[in-house]
């Protein structure tokens, strides 16, 4: 028997044993199996991603990062590697880098299976990270505005008091009030961008009623969330849910314009990442 075949059979057996331990929640035992397999055959990326998942369950983030890095080096299109790498970076509070890894994982995952559970899981983590990023930035902005508003108000009041001392009265009093009201309006307006409201309907899928993630357009010209319309075509029937015109899965086309519009909207309205 060719030694490489024997070797790969042994490695495969170890991997499966590791998976069995993992599914039972015995992460330490699973790590041992994967490590043994890696020692025999250090060039298989899935061994690293599996071991990374064990470390993740044990909250050993430095090891998660190391194994994810190895996996990505061996296979740059490895969905799980980018996913666990992203999580490890977020854990270290390296938001932009972590988000980038998760976005890469999402793109790769969608390419492999737009309906897969990984895609949903990655999206959730990504949305959570983006939301936290927004929350932090927006509370800083709110604090800054608050301080600026106080400074402007006291400047106006000071100026008004000085006027009064010099004996200008009635007319100056009304403009003073108007100025304070105008100031209030200006700052309210400035805070609007950071206030959660409603996502416009044209950026939402008519089935999920949620903001688009992976929009596709049907021959009737209606845009839907990809995973959901695929599910509909399979389970309910091969017709457009709104126009009832016939549709086949192969006729769905990515709607890049809407996808970009969503990205631009989310860029300005980070609160809309809140999907949980």
């Amino acid at each position: 028997m060719c030694p490489t075949v024997a070797l790969s059979a042994t490695v495969e057996k170890l991997r499966q044993e590791g998976n069995t331990y993992f599914n039972k929640g015995k992460f330490g035992a699973a790590i041992d199996k994967y490590t043994e397999a890696i020692t025999l055959c250090p060039k298989v990326s899935v061994l690293y991603t599996n071991r990374a998942l064990c470390h993740l369950k044990r909250n050993e983030w430095a090891r998660v990062e190391e194994d994810s890095r190895n996996a990505i080096q061996l296979d740059s299109n490895c969905v799980k590697g980018h996913y666990t790498m992203g999580l490890a970076l977020l854990q270290k509070q390296e938001y932009p880098e972590g988000v980038k890894e998760l976005e890469r994982a999402l793109d790769l995952g969608r390419g492999a299976d737009p309906n897969g559970y990984m895609v949903e899981e990655i999206w959730q983590e990504l949305a959570k990270a983006k939301y936290m990023e927004w929350e932090q930035a927006s509370s800083e902005r709110a604090w800054e505005l608050q301080k600026l508003k106080h400074a402007c108000e006291s400047a106006l009041i000071e100026k008004h008091d000085a006027f009064q001392m010099e004996g200008f009265l009635d007319e100056a009093g009304t403009t003073h009030m108007q100025q304070l009201q105008a100031l209030e309006r200006v700052f309210e307006k400035a805070a609007e961008a950071d206030t959660a409201s409603e996502v416009p309907d044209y950026l939402c899928c008519r089935i999920t009623l949620d903001i688009f993630r992976d929009p596709v357009i049907t021959p009737s010209g209606v845009t839907y969330e990809r995973s959901v319309i695929l599910n509909h075509l399979e389970k309910v029937g091969e017709f457009d849910p709104i126009t009832r015109e016939p549709v086949e899965p192969s006729q769905l086309i990515p709607n890049f314009a809407i996808k970009e519009a969503v990205q631009a909207y989310l860029q300005e309205n980070g609160w809309a990442y809140r999907t949980w």
């Binding site: 089935i207 999920t208 509909h232 389970k235 309910v236 709104i242 009832r244 999907t275």
Partner: protein
């Protein structure tokens, strides 16, 4: 909470839960005219009060709809029935079951509770006689074991009333 239907109901999927929360929110901001959602903590069963439209056979009458959502809503239609006493209508059976195609064969996941309500009200409003379907007694007898209208093989009456 008493479960009146015999069919055991599975807990809502995540997609269903999300979508129903969105629908409820939208309903609160913008409810369909003539309907009132009765507040409960049960997302899976909505009870909705319907007021007959003015100028129709059912003006000044109030009915109750009960909407039960399946695990895979909106890929599957909800079960919609009138809580007896149901309106006297050629497409509504005395046990509350409604013969309306969009609730069964013609369901589409792009429809919402709100759009169903509007269809039901329009069905009521266009009625010219207050009477039960011809096969009412036979049908209701067949449903005595608590069968859901979704298990009925509907043979839809024509669109006109």
């Amino acid at each position: 909470m008493t479960g009146s239907s015999a069919s055991s109901r599975k807990i809502l999927s995540k997609i269903a839960c999300n979508r129903l929360q969105k629908e409820l929110l939208e309903w609160q901001v913008n409810p369909p005219a003539g309907f009132k959602h009765k507040v409960t903590d049960n997302l899976q069963r909505w009870v909705i009060e319907v007021n007959g439209a003015p100028g129709t056979l059912y003006s000044n009458e109030t009915f109750q709809l009960q909407v039960d959502f399946p695990e895979h809503y909106p890929m599957e239609a909800p079960q919609v029935i009138f809580v007896p006493p149901a309106p006297m209508h050629p497409h509504i059976y005395s046990n509350g079951h409604i013969c309306l195609d969009i609730l069964y064969d013609s369901w589409s996941p792009a429809m919402t509770v709100s759009s169903i309500c509007i269809s039901i009200l329009s069905m009521l409003s266009s009625s010219t006689v207050k009477q039960r379907p011809e096969d009412n007694d036979r049908y209701v007898k067949n449903c005595r074991n608590g069968r859901s209208p979704k298990e009925t093989r509907w043979w839809f009456h024509d669109d006109k009333v």
